[in-house]
């Protein structure tokens, strides 16, 4: 399998919106080694014709919520934890998509 350069690990981290410092990168390089070693264990298990197990129990449910009951919180509650707000809007620096 591929080697994990620091540069690549940083890129991976940035994609999920955080940084890693040098030391963290080095530790992660080691952990990736262990990770890949453990993956070899997985490859010993024959999973041909085996479906992915996404949920502990797989009998499908039939419950779906009716559309009649409305529940909203107060504007005050909605804004209570907001780090930066203006006139009941949440504010971030100008973004252009």
């Amino acid at each position: 399998m591929e080697k994990f350069s620091k540069e690549m690990l940083r890129k991976l981290a940035n994609q999920v919106m955080f940084d890693l410092n040098d030391q963290e990168c080095e530790e992660l390089q080691e952990e990736f080694e262990t990770y890949l070693k453990q993956l070899e264990l997985l490859n010993k298990i024959d999973t041909e014709h085996v479906e992915e197990m996404v949920y502990p129990f797989e009998a499908p449910t039939s419950f779906i919520r009716n559309d009649d009951e409305v529940y909203a919180i107060s504007q005050e509650d909605a804004m209570k934890n907001v780090p930066q707000a203006s006139e009941n809007y949440v504010v971030v620096p100008k973004v252009v998509k």
Binding site: L20, E24, I45, D46, M53, P56, P83, V90
Partner: protein
């Protein structure tokens, strides 16, 4: 300390626990946020004294949303987060007359098995403060073990209730997946997360299950299975019960004292008329438990915590643009351990990796669960020592690293999370003055049977209501 002791004189009892907690905090460092009880006490006084948890102070792991009470999940990024809603199970506790006692320390976002990775630092083991409590529900385990509160809530994704229960010498119970609503509980990995609790005895565990269990329409994965009268139906007669010892686990434990303790208990169960047999699973398959778990859990966790971005709540760090704000908030907000796990999780979800990592892990999960199910089809429960060692010192703890030693004995309890089966750890004795425990797992929704067998074990160990504390001057 049992629930029964709290049925009257709410003010005095809770006051006593509160005084205890301040002393215990210095010893254990188990509490993240203390809660003012006065309003709750007044509210409870107006309630029906026959309620199952009337006046009972319950410590809450800090990943349960508690309305108006700071909830951090022991992560810096949520250091200032005050929920505007209660988790479903918190509502149920309140309705049953409980007092929310304190928010307890955990491994950050549940990610860890030592409680060393908490924003507020290590939680100390009540029996030897130099040792760890285990995690991730370490604060809850330690407070119950110390005798500060009779009950504490926890969550269990790998063994996060059942391992600290073993290290701290209390009952730790994770019922079937879907038995207790997860709504309002800050997740780790949604397909593995279970809500559960710590008590000092099986009777209390039965009562707690009755209060907490039940269908919740806010959690689409919660079950419609009938909630039984677990406490009333508790019956320690285990004649004819078929018990399977998971041999792979017992064979890989090096500490003979732990094995001897286990065998002693087993002998007693046989004397009671239980049919005990040794079973084993494919060793290679068991060795994949940890990697399979890590791949699934890290991937789900990375996505689950994408909402922690500093935009709508939590600690926002400055930045010139949105991306900088998010990156700075999340870099500073998460510990390195968590960030590293997120990278591993994200990596296994990339299109080019998903087949050989994430999906492969999900497939192996099925193979593992299929084999485990086959055992439980023939037996009432599967049993083994909950941990291969007593609570280690921080430097000896292996939980933080992806060590390839102890792949089986340290990690077999993950079977309960992968399968969703109900699983309980209870104390079985002491080694070097530190508690050790036994883990019992039963079929899905067979909690009554599980509790009955554990009640029999408890009667044999005589460790009902055993705590470490009691040495404080109040």
């Amino acid at each position: 300390m049992k629930i029964q002791e709290f049925t009257k004189d709410v003010e005095k009892n809770v006051g006593r626990c509160a005084a205890l907690s301040e002393k215990a905090q210095k010893k254990l460092n188990a509490i993240v946020t203390f809660i003012d009880h006065s309003e709750q006490i007044e509210a409870v006084k107006k309630m029906d004294p026959s309620l199952p948890l009337y006046g009972v102070p319950i410590a809450i792991k800090d990943n349960f949303n508690t309305k108006g009470i700071r909830t951090t999940a022991s992560s810096r990024i949520l250091d200032n987060y005050v929920p505007i809603y209660d988790a479903t199970v918190i509502k149920k506790l309140k309705d049953a007359g409980a007092i929310l006692f304190a928010k307890t320390s955990m491994d950050e976002l549940g990610m860890g098995g030592t409680n060393l990775n908490a924003y507020t630092g290590k939680v100390n083991n009540p029996y030897d403060v130099s040792r760890i409590s285990g995690g991730s529900s370490g604060g809850s385990a330690a407070l119950v073990a110390e005798g500060v509160v009779p009950v504490a809530m926890g969550t269990d994704t790998g063994d996060s209730i059942r391992k600290p229960a073993a290290y701290c010498g209390v009952v730790g119970f994770k019922p079937t997946y879907g038995r207790i609503s997860r709504y309002g509980v800050i997740p780790y990995a949604s397909s593995l997360d279970h809500v559960g609790f710590f008590t000092t005895c099986i009777e209390d565990a039965a009562r707690m299950l009755e209060v907490c269990a039940g269908r919740d329409d806010h959690d689409m994965t919660s079950s419609y299975e009938k909630v039984e009268e677990y406490e009333k139906n508790l019956n320690s007669d285990i004649r004819g019960k078929k018990i399977a010892i998971l041999e792979n686990v017992m064979n890989s434990i090096e500490d003979q004292r732990i094995v001897d303790n286990f065998n002693e208990v087993i002998l007693k169960l046989e004397k009671r008329g239980a049919i005990v047999e040794r079973v084993s699973m494919d060793e290679t398959l068991l060795q994949t438990l940890l990697p399979v778990y890590l791949i699934i859990a890290n991937a789900e966790a990375c996505a689950n915590h994408s909402n922690l971005d500093g935009v709508r709540f939590g600690m926002r760090e400055d930045g010139n643009d949105l991306e900088e704000i998010m990156i700075n908030s999340r870099t500073k907000g998460f510990s390195s351990a968590v960030r590293k796990r997120f990278v591993l999780g994200s990596y296994s979800l990339f299109v080019e990796n998903q087949e050989k990592l994430f999906r492969k892990a999900q497939k192996v999960r099925r193979v593992i669960v299929d084999e485990y199910r086959k055992i439980l089809e023939k037996y009432d429960c599967v049993i083994a020592s909950a941990a291969p060692t007593i609570a280690p010192h921080p430097e000896d703890s292996v939980g933080e690293k992806m060590s390839d030693t102890y792949l089986v004995a340290e990690n077999f309890m993950i079977l309960g999370n992968m399968s969703g089966y109900p699983s309980l750890t209870l104390p079985s004795g002491f080694v070097e003055g530190l508690p050790i425990g036994i883990n019992v797992t039963a079929k899905a929704f067979d909690e009554q049977n599980l509790l009955n067998i554990c009640k029999a074990i408890e009667e044999e160990t005589g460790l009902e209501n055993h705590t470490a504390g009691g040495s404080y001057e109040l």
